[in-house]
Amino acid sequence: MTGLDVIGLTAERASSMLQARDCTAVELASAYLERIELYDGDVHGYLHVDAERTLVDAAAQDAAGTTGLAGVPIAYKDLLSTKGVPTTAGSKILEGFMPLEDADVVARGKAAGLVSLGKTNLDEFAMGSSTEHSAYGPTRNPWDLTRVPGGSSGGSAAVVAAGLAPWSLGTDTGGSIRQPAAFCGLVGLMPTYGTVPRFGVVAFACSLEQVGPITLTVRDAALLQQIIAGASERDATCTGPREPIVVPTAGRLDGITFGVPWAELEEGVEPGIRARFDRSLQIARDLGAEIVDVELPYARHGLAAYYVIAPAEASANLSRFDGVRYGLRVDAPDVRSMYEATRDAGFGPEVKRRIMIGTYVLSAGYHDAYYLQAQRVRTLIRRDFDAAFASVDAILSPTAPTTAFEFGARLDDPLAMYANDIFTLPVNLAGVPALSLPNGLVEGLPSSLQIIGPSHSENLLFRLGAAFEEAHGFDPVPPLLRGGSS
């Protein structure tokens, strides 16, 4: 035992400990590795941990003399390519696959001296909202091990909530960072589209997704965003942030106008969630903000538009898994049957479902009625947000309409599962940033507040988030851990 207690330890605090020489990067990494050893059997947040390699990396940081965030550990969603380290995307079809390059965000993490603890669990190819669709078994929610951590970045959220990593990176295509952050009582950011490079991120739906931080605090989220955001010559859609990311300090909200899309909150929001949301509005007013009603008339069509556009892109993105150049191959007498056998054996049910939807909506005769129409709805949703941001600084909603649900609760009802992302999907369709942060507990489970801003308003979101965070005084450490630790 290192005797180092890392429960609830923020990356920011860890870095100051390192710089004050209160601990070394190796001690820090060891502390997390020990906890992983002890508790990840229950949580199953990690798909791959290489303790030896982690300690070697940490030692290298100690040797180099830790400055900034160097030496701070991190966990990466297993959708992010890591050179020479298995990357599965939670799928059998990529079992044993060794990327030849790091994803840009991973390379930037390395450049900043972050030490990887391992690769975290996810819904296969990031398709899901519970991490139950991982081919390697589900991840459990540290707040209640009988419940899902959310998804698709469920592993990245669970390991941070369980004190198995100080922070992590996830990806968000329709809520896959914000919803698990919400279910696990954490901070999650969906960055403005085109500010974080996607090179090396196993693609699900290219026009919708970004990589973003999952952290214990808003300040940590800003610190991690500082590392990963920026243009890349390997991603033609990534031009980086318009202004440098600033780490916020909590303050008042005088002069801020929040919009609330009341009409969208009428259906399907659990009473407890609604109550917490109303309370956060009161907090906003107390801090000097004004709350007004905003209309997002097409947001309610976001779910339908999303489940045309995302599967359409996914169906093409997943066609490369054909058993020829890498990954699983099921042998067969001719190429076509080899493709069909390989893909049948390699993909799980949810992935097949989405490939089928995507193939259907792009196929001859349906393309216009589904795909083209969904793109028109996307245009209207973007216009909705543009119009809203002409009159408000940011939009508030719950991140998810429910708290973490029990395993299997929605597994047999895809639509019910999809519906859990009702508040997060429109954000991806519009390409604007959104910050999710804890909003108190409902029956012992975290609820969450989503702050949506106009494109490139990350700094505003961080500032607003910090204000709520301080006012809430939320303790992100699940009671279970207090019991389980020391």
Partner: protein, 100 residues
Amino acid sequence: MSVRRIELTTDEVRHVAALARLGLDDAEIERLGFELQSILGHVATISALPIADVPPTAHALDVSVELRPDVARAGLTREQALANAPDPTPDGFRVPPIGS
């Protein structure tokens, strides 16, 4: 959640699976057919919207694409290229016969 009735014949489902190169057995075809009907039944609610005049959004950003200067750089060694191959030959990737 509003829903429209969508009918999918087994043959249609098989056709889509064939396009996607998914070798599904009859049970999967039946299950997916059922699920597709319910999911498409919901997404089809947008196909009725009177928005034919609205320009579709295909790209997340309206700016012009970043182009790359025409500079050649060495890529992977053949060993690296073949490292993940399920059925490599000394210099390439083997695939079964194209067949008929």
